[in-house]
Amino acid sequence: KPTTANAASNDSSVSAIKKRGTIKIAVFQDLPPYGWVNKKGKLTGYDLALARQVAKDLGVKTKFVQVNANNRVDALNSNKVDIVLANFTVTDERKQVVDFAKPYMKVSVGVISPKSKPITKVSQLKGKDLIVTKGTTAENYFTAQQKDVNLQKYDSKTQQFNALKNGRGVALADDNSYLYAWVKNNPKYTVGIKSIGPKQYIAPAVKKGNKSLLTWTNKEITKLNKANFFEKSYNSQLKPYFGSEVKASDIIITNK
Amino acid sequence: MTELLRVEHLNKAYGEVPVLQDISFTVNTGEVQVVLGPSGSGKSTLIRCLNGLEPYQSGTIYFQGQKVDPTPKNWQLLRQKIGMVFQSYDLFPNLNIMDNITLGPIKVQKQSKATAQKEALRLLDTVGLADYTAKFPRELSGGQKQRIAIVRALALHPDFMLFDEVTASLDPEMVRGVLEIMANLAKQKMTMIVVTHEMNFAQQIADNVLFLDDGHILESTPGKDFFTNPQTDRAKEFLQSMDF
């Protein structure tokens, strides 16, 4: 059983955060519409809305720490942040190294490709270059399940989409929800494979053993669910970016 | 005549290679000891041993009757009493002439700045360079630099002076001025050990000549005899080779 980090040594316990007056939250800053910087230079998105709400309910200020997909775990472990709200998919491997709270979003891996040369089946990817970002579920899935696909692994979302646009791979795999969002902005591309691999969940993560913050977060998610926070947030943050293929129920978890 | 310096059975090697072997000699107060010998015979090394710039393996140095304890700390104290001038005009390029001369008196001997500067001026005057206090070494000719280097050593009022081929890298026309100053010092009965290749000069000032070859003292002969009648064949040969 995981040892409870005792309050004295746990810098990220609820009491410690409250005492400090700020919560350090790991977010993406290059992943519209979840966590990104808009044209005005303001940090915004679906994850950010949740993050701000969490801080508000804790009664503390926020300090956002930008992370890439591949350093979300270490940001927690090295105490850079108290909590990760960066599109963090729950997987078995990750469960070993961090503690996930209740999920707040559903997702599965999708694949986008140019409309002119669409990829609609995994078999089309054999021996071809597929673009992914390091440390994402998509990378995980293809590394483990589809060994004959060549992966091009980038550090950030900005880089991966740039690479796709420059035609550096035949397709790009990532969480399907914002692939929908992305193709809406980039109509030359299509989500050729809508869902691949198991359905997965996105949840807040805290450092392994940080029971205090985990419990609090679980309660918070339940509370926010009841208050229809996620639906509202979906409508304001995500809906404008998603195409008609996506419905709220595809993304948010509505069982209250 | 009181004995100022006595060296007994000094041995010095670089690694395995012996450079000085069983060197013994005495210098009395007011005497000029000239050290001669072919290149590589160990003249510079000997001079450097005498003010602790080189450690030696065995042997004893007595200074004013006292045995020298060869620790770095002790040498540092003794060096105030031993002036030394080298072949390369080794003034400190980052200091002007006045500061070059007064650095030792002020920082080592803790003299007041005024005293040190007054004395520096007096000494500069004796070498004809009193106007140069504010200049930097790079603005001086080789001969001038070397005269300043002598003044710098004298400013500490040493009990004796070591000169290692101080004219060797000077232009021929510059040599004379420097040698004149040394000859003057000799006249004023400064005790000196002088390594030189200027045979005429050596002959003129030497009270005694040490002839070194291959790390040994081959002969120690009064100056008046050495140049006309050296005792060893090696010295004879050496003297011949020195003038074409």
Binding site: A69, N70, N71, V73, D74, N77, E93, R94, Q96, V97, I131, K134, G135, T136, E139, N140, T143, Q152, K153, Y154, D155, Q159, N162, A163, K165, N166, G167, R168 | -
Partner: protein, 219 residues
């Protein structure tokens, strides 16, 4: 620290290691050739070329490789020039290294005492013969320490290739960390990987420097 995890990751690291070596070798070779040509342009003061080389050297030395790579890899396709990651990496390394190597060679050529050139002339050597028998052999010997230092520098710079998704050593380590979260283990292997390449090189460099300092190299 788990030995098992390290062992399991070794095949992946091996691939990255080999890629790092390959790309370093190609990039460094290219940089040396480019650098030599540039320094010859400067040494012989070839008009126009000399100015172009001068501008190139300043541009290359005063901008980070990371930006050079970003620009080549993500920027240039915007104006219709698309090169593979591998090509971009090697071009980047040659672009960066060429100027460093050029300065290394120039340092060597400039280090030849003027008296050498003059005594070459005094025995009647032509400019070409002077270059062939005096300037080049001596200049090359003198520039070896600088070239060796540049080689080490360039090998280290390949770690930046990670930003254009080239699976070299650093990229491999960062990827594995993102996948399996054994940060300590993977970082250790990474450091060891670079050490295996760079320590022997650094020892050779020190040795070379010593030989040159005591004037026993090449002459």
């Amino acid at each position: 620290m788990s030995w098992q995890i390290i062992q399991q990751s070794l095949p992946m690291f091996q691939k990255g290691f080999i890629l790092t070596l390959q790309m370093s070798a190609l990039g460094i070779l290219g940089a040396i050739i480019l650098g030599l040509m540039c320094s010859l342009c400067q040494y012989f003061k070839i008009p126009v070329l000399k100015q172009i080389v001068g501008a190139y050297i300043e541009l290359s030395r005063n901008t980070p490789l990371l930006i050079q790579l970003f620009f080549i890899y993500y920027g240039l396709p915007g104006i219709g020039l698309k090169l593979s990651a591998y090509t971009c990496g090697i071009i980047g390394l040659i672009f960066l290294g060429g100027s460093y190597m050029a300065e290394g060679f120039s340092g060597g050529f400039d280090g030849i005492p003027n008296s050498q050139i003059e005594s070459g002339k005094a025995i009647g050597l032509s400019q070409g013969q002077l270059t062939r028998y005096v300037v080049f052999p001596q200049g090359f010997a003198l520039s070896i320490p600088a070239l060796a230092a540049n080689i080490i520098f360039l090998i280290k710079e390949t770690s930046i290739f990670t930003v254009i998704a080239i699976p070299e050593l650093t990229n491999t380590a960062l990827d594995l960390i993102g996948l399996y979260y054994h940060t300590n283990e993977y970082l250790l292997v990474l450091v060891v990987g670079y050490a295996i390449i760079l320590i022997p090189l650094s020892i050779i460099l020190t040795w070379l420097e010593r030989r040159i300092r005591y004037g026993t190299f090449g002459d």
